[in-house]
Amino acid sequence: MSNFNLKLITPEGEGYEGEVSEASIPTPDGQISILANHMPLITLVSPGEIKLKTSGKEHYLATEGGVAYVANGLLKILADTAESADSLDEVKIMEAKANAEKLLANITDEQEFATVQATLEKQLAKLSFLKRRKRKL
């Protein structure tokens, strides 16, 4: 399988750079897989799990969302965050999730509700990612 270049960038710096044979990204329409010579595409990235395949090995990263594009043989992912299973702290995520749930229970404002719900969704995505990966390790 032929490879292509991938660059993952977060606001705090460059997260990952290198050749991969396949990348799987969470989008609003579901998980999409990108192989070499993919057609030019710009897509939103949803909170979830980014899966990268390099020469037989698989890498998993949790993201809170962002934007990705494929062009000129390069896949660039602009992610709000990108964390591997090792760097995630389950306790912290549980805390953030509990906080968001507590807030959600007391909110009447529609807009705020949406924001908190988004936070909750992000934490849940991280948590399910972590649970899946930890089991495999």
Binding site: T10, P11, E14, I42, G66
Partner: protein, 315 residues
């Protein structure tokens, strides 16, 4: 009597002991200021590194924005719409801690002249009738609150150490929501631009609405921007949805970037303030040591004179 005491006789002069005490105290102050200087220098380097690592993200977002500008209609997004300025949201970034020379004063002066209508952003002159202030940093808040024609609506603290991207989200949410709801027609950021270790200038930058004129994508950046001219993109779910996401991220990045620059500037200012203090302490120690030695020598000379005088009288 004098012969036995052997001390200093002139009542107006402080004693050598007094001088020793003073030298010691100045010296310990100098040790503190030197330590602070070194700490500030390390922190500044860290902040500069953090600043540089945002470039890649900002540049890529900007490339995408330019591309999206071609495929979406120019008025398609409210964050891009120019409105007549009736009310401005002003964010000022000062430090949480003091001992950084004129750093905070410079920011406050800039904010003052902005409120007085003396700062031009872009081409049009500002008539700042009505300003809502959001102050970041504890030190500046008190003075910023006294600005004319304005009222302080929010104050944020605790950005002095390492800044995470997530830390700025409350600020950006407040500003973006207020702008979209029409409470502000413009959002301006006043912070210290870090040009180099030696030079930091307070600047006022418009972050909302986003216009091409107000964004400086430094031409010095190492990587050339990507060329999308011949690429036909497919958009998921739609160009407008992607535009919305990138615009909001872009505004957050502007605030985040400004905070990192302010942070680097603050540490740099503190480093120089502490360096000056250490240098002054050194001069002071030299002066005091010289005076101390003079007094000590005077005492010795006087004693010898007295001893020889007494010896002569006895012989």
């Amino acid at each position: 009597m004098n012969l036995i005491c052997g001390g200093v006789h002139n009542k107006n002069m402080p004693s050598t002991q007094e001088f020793r005490r003073r030298i010691k105290s100045v010296n310990s102050t100098r040790q503190i200021t030197r330590a602070m200087e070194m700490v500030a220098s390390v922190k500044m380097q860290k902040a500069v590194r953090a600043m540089q690592s945002t470039r890649s993200y900002i540049q890529t977002s900007w490339n995408l924005l330019e591309l999206l500008g071609r495929v979406t209609s120019p008025d398609s997004h409210p964050l891009l719409n120019q409105r007549r300025t009736q009310k401005t949201g002003l964010i000022t970034i000062t430090s949480d801690r003091g001992l950084c020379g004129s750093y905070n004063t410079n920011i406050i002066n800039k904010a003052n002249s902005y409120a007085a209508g003396n700062v031009k952003i872009g081409e049009q002159a500002e008539i700042a009738d009505n300003i809502d202030l959001v102050s970041i940093g504890q030190k500046g808040s008190g003075q910023v609150a006294k600005l004319s024609k304005s009222n302080l609506i929010a104050q944020f603290e605790g950005f002095g150490k390492e800044i995470d991207f997530e830390d700025i989200l409350p600020v950006s949410k407040l500003m973006i929501d207020s702008y979209l709801e029409g409470r502000y027609d413009k959002v301006v950021l006043i912070y210290s631009h870090f040009e180099s270790t030696l030079k930091q200038t307070p600047v006022a930058k418009q972050i909302l609405p986003i216009t091409r004129d107000h964004i400086d994508i430094p031409s010095l950046w190492e990587k050339p921007s990507e060329n999308f001219n011949n690429v036909e993109f497919k958009f998921e779910p739609s160009p407008d949805a992607v535009l919305d996401r990138i615009l909001i991220q872009f505004i957050k990045m502007q605030i985040y970037g400004a905070l990192l620059e302010a942070n680097a500037s603050e540490h740099s200012a503190r480093m120089f303030a502490m360096k000056n203090a250490s240098d002054n302490a050194k001069d002071l120690i030299n002066d005091l040591t010289l005076t101390y030695n003079t007094i000590r020598q005077d005492g010795i000379t006087r004693e010898i004179a007295e001893i020889s005088g007494a010896a002569e009288a006895m012989s």
